[in-house]
Amino acid sequence: MKTFTSRFLGNPRVYLGLIWLGSLLFVALTADFLAPVDPFAIVGRPMSNPSAAFPLGTDSLGRDVLAGLLHGTRATLLIAVLATLAAVAFGTFVGAVAGYYGRLIDDALMRFTEFFQTIPSFLFAIVLIAVLSPSAANVVIAIATVSWPPIARVVRGEVLTVKSREFVQAAVVAGQGDAAILLKQILPNTLSPLIVTGSLLVATAILVESALSFLGLGAPDVMSWGFMIGAGRSFMREAWWLVTVPGIAILLTVLAINMIGEGLNDALNPRLADL
């Protein structure tokens, strides 16, 4: 029986994903140092070809594309991670309560979850932001609002199987309260599927965030990859790199997170790894 670490890191896809994500994290933390200019500052002639001064050229207003890309890393990752954390927190709460209390509460909460799964989620996110007005916080709220249901379902399923186990019954007999049993006994045992679902959710959140920014619904005055593509789309004929480069950044990041998520899944559920 191999250990978790060797199963996880022995997977070349996971390795590549971790390298890309690690470099992104580095860029996100040091963006101010790597590209000391404000990404919105006009620094050169509009739509200059890539050159030594601007390795990825400038956009239609003369902003440095490389600086935008580096600063965009931070915004894109931060919004996606925050939205995922919010979705995981809310989804875990709903799923845990539904699974633990069962009966009517379970029924009501699951209908509630199904409702959110039925409505067209991206359109709902758009409507939410249109009504709440675009801002970084509202983008996080909108993404979290449409992405918590899978978490709730996963957690509920796990809680249902764990709650009938003997150590939980022992805790009940020992007189622990519901909150303590849920938090200390049951939830720690639901972690592995939660980690897998949550990590894949970050990838979805990045896709949703960039689509929102592309449509002009992202946080204003925050440079993000989707915003760069949206700003460059009218100039594809003259400057193809304006849309191509940020798109590749999104693609590689989502790919890396998906590969890490699947690697986690294979490592945490070795029985299913052959499928």
Partner: protein, 327 residues
């Protein structure tokens, strides 16, 4: 299966959809309440300002001076007769606008569904038959990459290559309006405009269905009934086509139903890129015109569309899988 029981099943499923539709209506109503500025202030603002008495008068006329629960009741009553309000930006009732724009979106969605399901199932099937060969790897890697690609970027890249560089397909619109095509020429023209939007919307789902189909085929192939069929002396080809393939289809059909909502979200992006005159583009326009009546009308119609598709999928499912006994 008796036809009577199927009818009963459909009716039961229809009744189950009522809470969802009602939920959407209530969410819609709450969002309208949340939206900054009500209709009266918007109209007054458009007229270049108005005295407070006039605004109050307008509010009274729209029933906005009533308590919230009465407003909700009025909103519900209007919806039942398909009155979704009036779009003051487009100077037309919201319902009429929606009906005009529904068909282009349905055309796009149906073409996408056929293309993504057809090719997705085929690719997944081939990958499963060629499992652990370079062909399987090629299909799987391509699917993983497409699965991670943002939809809007696919659209822009297709425009860049096939419209701007190669000039094979038009960049936008649903037909060449100045050409005044009629009959088959018009159909061909629309089909020509349809290629890139459909391809853009399809690729992600194609990858999704291919991955699902492959996993589903491999799972089914290891089940006991396959061993039984083999023991009976059936040929591998027959086992694959008659047994494994049919069972492997079920999760893909389920997923196709689940993805309808996603398809509508994707069509907002695709239609705004290709200026496809459907609901998605209308949503995009109403968004920036702050036309909340129209935007929420589109949201309501989309939700109803999802509910209807899920209903259809459930009925199809009963035909595909006789193990699902109704009731």
């Amino acid at each position: 299966m008796k036809s009577g029981s199927l009818g009963g099943y459909v009716v039961r499923r229809l009744i189950q959809t009522v809470p969802v539709v009602l939920g959407v209506v209530i969410v819609n109503f709450l969002l309208l309440q949340l939206a900054p500025g009500d209709l009266a202030t918007v109209l007054a603002g458009e007229a270049g300002g108005a005295p407070k008495e006039y605004i109050d008068q307008l509010r009274a006329r729209f029933g906005h001076d009533q308590p919230v629960y009465i407003q909700l009741f009025n909103y519900l009553r209007n919806l039942i007769v398909l009155d979704l309000g009036y779009s003051f930006r487009q100077s037309a009732p919201v319902f009429d606008l929606l009906m005009q724009r529904l068909w282009p979106t349905l055309l796009l969605m149906v073409c996408t569904l056929v293309l993504s399901l057809g090719f997705g199932i085929l690719m997944g099937l081939l990958a499963a038959l060629w499992v652990r060969t370079w062909k399987d790897n090629a299909i799987s890697v391509a699917a993983i990459i497409v699965y991670a690609t943002p939809l809007f970027w696919v659209g822009l890249m297709l425009i860049l290559v096939f419209s701007i560089r190669l000039d094979w397909f038009p960049t936008s619109g649903m037909e060449d309006v100045v050409a005044f095509h009629e009959g088959w020429a018009r159909v061909a023209d629309i089909a020509h405009h349809l290629v890139l939007p459909t391809l853009t919307l399809s690729l992600f789902y194609l990858a999704l269905y291919a991955r699902l189909m492959r996993a589903s085929m491999l799972e089914q192939r290891g089940l006991d009934y396959v061993v039984t069929a083999r023991a009976k002396g059936q040929s591998e080809r027959r086992i694959t086509t008659r047994h494994v393939f049919r069972n492997a289809l079920l999760p893909v059909v389920t997923m196709a139903g689940v993805q309808t909502g996603g398809l509508i979200g994707g069509s907002v992006v695709v239609e705004s890129i290709f200026a496809w005159p459907g609901l998605g583009q209308l949503a995009y326009q109403s968004l920036f015109a702050r036309d909340y009546n129209l935007l929420l009308g589109i949201f309501f119609l989309s939700a109803v569309l999802v509910v209807v598709v899920n209903l259809i999928v459930d009925v199809v499912y009963v035909f595909l899988d006789p193990r699902i006994r109704i009731g």
